[in-house]
C-alpha cells in the first residue's frame, strides 16, 4: 500500500518527464528539471483510429531507428491516447518542438529519425500543413483545430502513456483522491461538485452533485452502495468516452473512488462496450496497476477507506446505455430498463443505492477537486458549466475529437475548428445527440451550444456526437436511418417503443418510396407525440426526435417526397431517374459496358461535334445503382 508521501515522491520523479510534453518555454524549463533523462519524446498515437491505420508498426520502426543510431538514452517513444485530429492519423508528435507529423507512414519514419532525432531538423514536408506558415513553423496548439480548444476531460489524452500509472501520477494523478480522503468530508465533496455546476455528460445533463447527494442521504441503512461508470458509448458517431478510456484510464478510476468515499460505497463497476477492445485492455491494465499500488483495494492511503472496481463488458445492446438497463445487464439479465422511480440513487444495482455517471463526467471530477469549483464554473454558460467534448464526423474536413467551452457556437465548431465541409459542398445540418437527438440547420449555426439551447432548438447535447451533413444528404433518409436503428435496438419491453418505432419506420419507408400521402405525414406526427409521452425509457421517448426535428426544419423535403415524388438530394433511389444528356454524350460506351442491368442502349443521334452516336437509359431496366455516373467522363449522365 502506497502512502501519500510515496505518491508525492513518484510525482516529483515523473513531473519533469511529463511536463516536457508541453510547448515552448515550459518544455525547456521542464528539460532542466531533475528526473529529466530524455532530450526528446516521440509520441505516437495509439487510439483506435490511428491503431487501425497501423501506428503499432510506426512505433516499432521508431524504436528500431533509435536503437540503430544509439539514441536510446536520449529519445523515448511513447504510445499515447488520442490526439483528437483523427482525420490526419496516424499522428506522431515530437517534443520539445511539438512538431506534428501527420498521416505518417512506416516508410517515412527512417527519414524523421535521421533528420529530426539525429540532426535536430524538423522534416517540414511531413508536418501537418497548417503548422507550416509564412512565419515559420508554428506549434500545433496555434492551429485552427486546437487553438479554441480547452482540454479538461481530455487533458492527458495524447500526452501520457495510458499504460503507465507513474506517468498519470506525474501529471497530478491520484492527488485529488488523496486530498478528498485526508482533508474533506463527504459533504465537502458534494458541495464542491454542486458549486462547480457539473452536469452529466452522458446526455441528459442532470447535476452531478445532486445525484451524489441523493445517493448519500436518501438511504442510510449502512448497507452496500455502488458506483457505476457508464462506458457503453452506444451513440453511433460518438467516441469521446472511448478516447478517455484509451488515453487516460486512471482518471476514471480515481474519480469513481472519490464518489465511493462520498456516497459510502466500497464497490464500483465499469460497464464498457465490447466493441472497444483497446479501451477494455487499458482499463484492465489500469485496474491491475491501481490495485498493486494500493490505490484501489483495502485501506487506501491508510485512511480506512476501501474501494474496488470490477469491469463488465457489454454485448452489443444500445439500450444498455440507459442507466436502469445498464444495471440490469450488470446483474446478468436481459438489458431491459425498469420504470423510474425508484431512481438508482434509492434502488439501483442489485437493488441498492447507486451513483452512475458517464466517462466524460468522471474525467472532470479530479480536476474540479484539485482546482476548485470556481475555476470550473468560470468556463461555459450560465446553466452549463465547463467544457464539452464533441466527436466531429461526417462531411467535415477535420474529423476528430474537440473539447470546447460550453457555449461555443456550431459555426465556430464546423467552420473554424472543423475546417468546413469538404469538396466545396454546402453545409446542410449537423446532427447531435445520435438517435435521440435532432439536427441543427444552417439558420441556427450561431446559437451558443449548451444543454438548454440545444433542447430549445429541437436537438439535444447527447453524449456529444456531432455529424455534419451536406447538400447531398437527404433528411428523410437520415430520419429513416435513425428509425431503423431504434427499431433494431428497441428492447421490446414496452409497446409504444416496440410497435411505435416500427410503424413510424413503415411510414418513412413509404415516403422515401414516393408512396405516401399527406395523411401519412399527419399520422407520423401523431405517433411521434404518443411515443414521446408513453414510452418506458429514454430510448423510446426520444426515438421520434430525429423525425420531429427534420420535420421542423426540412418539412419541404418531406413534401417534395410526398407530393412531387422527388428526392431533392438525390438519395432515395425509388424517386430518382437517370438521364443521359445526349448533347454531352461522346458515345464511348463505358456506361453500357459497366451497367449491371444492360439498361443503356445506343441511339441514332450523333451530337454536333461528336463522332459517335449517344446512349440513352431504358428506365424500365435501370436499377439506379449509379455505376454509369461514376464511369461517365464527360459527366453526361445525371440523376434527378
Amino acid at each position: 500500500m502506497i502512502s501519500i508521501n510515496e505518491l508525492n515522491q513518484i510525482k516529483a520523479e515523473m513531473e519533469g518527464l511529463v511536463a516536457m510534453r508541453c510547448e515552448g518555454e515550459a518544455a525547456i524549463k521542464a528539460m532542466s528539471k531533475e528526473g529529466q533523462t530524455y532530450k526528446r519524446h516521440v509520441l505516437v498515437c495509439g487510439g483506435t483510429g490511428c491503431t487501425s491505420a497501423h501506428s503499432e508498426e510506426i512505433i516499432e520502426r521508431f524504436k528500431d531507428g533509435i536503437a540503430k543510431n544509439g539514441l536510446e538514452k536520449e529519445v523515448c517513444v511513447i504510445r499515447t491516447g488520442c490526439h483528437g485530429l483523427c482525420a490526419l492519423g496516424p499522428i506522431v508528435i515530437v517534443y520539445p518542438e511539438a512538431a506534428f507529423y501527420a498521416n505518417v507512414e512506416v516508410s517515412i519514419v527512417d527519414e524523421i529519425v535521421s533528420e529530426h532525432l539525429v540532426n535536430g531538423n524538423m522534416v517540414t514536408k511531413y508536418l501537418y500543413d497548417k503548422t507550416v506558415t509564412d512565419k515559420g513553423i508554428i506549434s500545433m496548439h496555434e492551429t485552427d483545430f486546437y487553438k479554441k480548444q480547452n482540454r479538461v476531460a481530455l487533458r492527458n489524452c495524447g500526452v501520457i502513456d495510458p499504460e503507465s500509472i507513474r506517468e498519470y501520477i506525474g501529471t497530478g494523478g491520484y492527488q485529488a483522491l488523496a486530498k478528498v480522503l485526508t482533508t474533506m468530508t463527504p459533504e465537502d465533496v458534494i458541495q464542491v461538485v454542486l458549486d462547480s455546476g457539473l452536469r452529466g455528460r452522458g446526455g441528459a445533463g442532470f447535476p452531478t452533485g445532486r445525484k451524489w447527494a441523493m445517493a448519500r442521504t436518501l438511504v442510510q441503512d449502512g448497507g452496500q452502495k455502488y458506483v457505476c461508470c457508464n462506458a457503453d458509448e452506444g451513440d453511433p458517431g460518438a467516441f469521446m468516452d472511448r478516447s478517455v478510456l484509451e488515453g487516460d484510464p486512471h482518471v476514471v478510476l480515481e474519480a469513481m473512488a472519490i464518489a465511493g468515499y462520498t456516497i459510502g460505497a466500497s464497490q464500483g463497476y465499469i460497464y464498457v462496450r465490447a466493441e472497444y477492445p483497446i479501451a477494455v485492455q487499458r482499463l484492465e491494465i489500469a485496474i491491475k496497476q491501481a490495485r498493486e499500488c494500493g490505490l484501489l483495494g483495502e485501506n487506501i492511503f491508510g485512511t480506512g477507506f476501501s474501494f474496488d472496481i470490477g469491469l463488465r463488458l457489454g454485448a452489443g445492446a444500445f439500450v444498455c446505455g440507459e442507466e436502469t438497463a445498464l444495471m440490469t445487464s450488470i446483474e446478468g439479465n436481459r438489458g431491459e430498463p425498469r420504470p423510474r422511480p425508484p431512481f438508482p440513487a434509492v434502488k439501483g444495482l442489485f437493488e441498492r443505492p447507486t451513483v452512475l455517471n458517464n466517462v466524460e463526467t468522471w474525467a472532470n471530477i479530479p480536476q474540479i477537486i484539485l482546482r476548485g469549483a470556481e475555476w470550473f464554473a468560470s468556463m461555459g454558460t450560465e446553466k452549463s458549466k465547463g467544457t464539452k467534448v464533441f466527436a466531429l464526423g461526417g462531411k467535415i474536413q477535420n474529423t476528430g475529437l474537440v473539447e470546447i467551452p460550453m457555449g461555443t457556437t456550431l459555426r465556430e465548431v464546423v467552420e473554424e475548428i472543423g475546417g468546413g465541409v469538404p469538396n466545396g459542398k454546402k453545409f446542410k445540418a449537423a446532427q447531435t445527440g445520435g438517435p435521440s437527438g435532432g439536427c441543427i440547420p444552417a439558420s441556427h449555426m450561431d446559437v451558443p451550444m449548451d444543454y438548454d439551447n440545444l433542447i430549445a432548438i429541437g436537438s439535444m447535447m447527447g453524449s456529444g456526437g456531432l455529424i455534419v451533413m451536406d447538400e447531398d444528404n437527404c433528411m428523410v433518409d437520415i430520419a429513416k436511418f435513425f428509425l431503423e436503428f431504434t427499431v433494431d435496438e428497441s428492447c421490446g419491453k414496452c409497446n409504444p417503443c416496440r410497435i411505435g418505432t416500427r410503424r413510424m419506420l413503415e411510414i418513412l419507408d413509404k415516403i422515401t418510396k414516393g408512396q405516401a400521402t399527406m395523411d401519412d405525414l399527419d399520422r407520423l406526427e401523431k405517433l411521434a407525440a404518443h411515443l414521446q409521452k408513453s414510452s418506458l425509457c429514454a430510448l423510446g421517448q426520444t426515438a421520434p426526435n430525429p423525425i420531429i426535428s427534420t420535420l421542423r426544419y426540412f418539412r419541404d423535403e418531406y413534401i417534395a417526397h410526398i407530393v412531387d415524388k422527388k428526392c431533392p438530394a438525390g438519395v432515395c433511389k425509388d424517386l430518382l431517374s437517370f438521364k443521359v444528356d445526349k448533347d454531352k454524350c461522346i458515345g464511348c460506351g463505358l456506361c453500357a459496358r459497366n451497367c449491371p442491368a444492360n439498361a443503356l442502349n445506343k441511339t441514332d443521334y450523333v451530337a454536333p461535334g461528336h463522332k459517335l452516336p449517344s446512349f440513352e437509359i431504358d428506365s424500365a431496366k435501370c436499377i439506379k445503382c449509379g455505376v454509369c455516373i461514376g464511369n461517365c467522363r464527360p459527366k453526361a449522365i445525371t440523376k434527378q
Binding site: S52, Y276, G393, T399, F482
Partner: protein, 164 residues
C-alpha cells in the same frame, strides 16, 4: 432470417468442455456472472449453441430459458457459427453519411448472402455493426478485427481476395 439457416451439428471437443467448466467454476459465485460466462463461452466455442447453453445451465443452476433469453437479447451473442472470416460493416452515423450503406449492399451482392448470414462454404459471414469508434476513417469495416478504412465499393474485390 433464422428459419433458413440449416442447423449445423455441434462439434465441441472434450478440451473445450474442460475449459468451459473451469471458467464457470471460477466465475459462478460472482454476482451477475451470467454475462461474463456467456462471453467467455463464446470465446471458447465461437458461438453459443443450445448444447453449450445447457452445460452452462447445468453448472450454474441458472434456468435454461433465462440463459436463452440473455443470449438472444444481445447482438454479440450468436447461436449460429460464424464464417472463417467475419466481416463487419459499420453502419454508424458517421460511416453511413459517408456511404457505408453502399459498401454493405455491395458486399451482400458479392457474397450472395444477407446480413447476419454465412456463405455456404463457411468462408465469410457478414454483419452490420454500430460504430466501432473509428469515425475518422469512415466508412469502415472490419474483417476478423482488422480495420479497413476510407472504403469505397471498388476496393472490396481487392480486400476480399486477401481472404480467399
Amino acid at each position: 432470417m433464422g428459419a433458413d439457416k440449416k442447423a449445423v451439428p455441434f462439434k465441441g471437443t472434450e478440451e473445450q468442455k474442460q475449459q468451459l467448466l473451469e471458467m464457470i467454476a471460477g466465475l459462478k459465485n460472482e454476482r451477475g456472472a451470467l454475462m461474463p460466462i456467456l462471453q467467455k463461452a463464446q470465446d471458447i466455442y465461437g458461438y453459443l449453441p443450445i448444447e453449450v447453453q445447457t452445460m452452462i445451465s447445468d453448472e450454474t443452476g441458472i434456468p435454461l430459458e433465462k440463459i436463452y433469453g440473455v443470449a438472444t437479447f444481445y447482438s454479440q451473442f450468436s447461436l449460429y457459427p460464424k464464417g472463417k472470416n467475419q466481416i463487419s460493416v459499420c453502419l454508424g452515423t458517421a460511416c453511413y453519411v459517408k456511404g457505408s450503406g453502399d459498401v454493405y449492399n455491395k458486399l451482400m451482392e458479392k457474397l450472395g448472402i444477407e446480413g447476419g448470414q454465412c456463405t455456404p462454404d463457411g468462408k465469410f459471414s457478414l454483419d452490420a455493426c454500430r460504430c466501432i469508434g473509428a469515425c475518422g476513417l469512415a466508412p469502415v469495416m472490419t474483417i476478423n478485427g482488422e480495420v479497413y478504412g476510407k472504403l469505397t465499393a471498388d476496393m472490396l474485390d481487392g480486400i476480399l481476395a486477401k481472404y480467399e
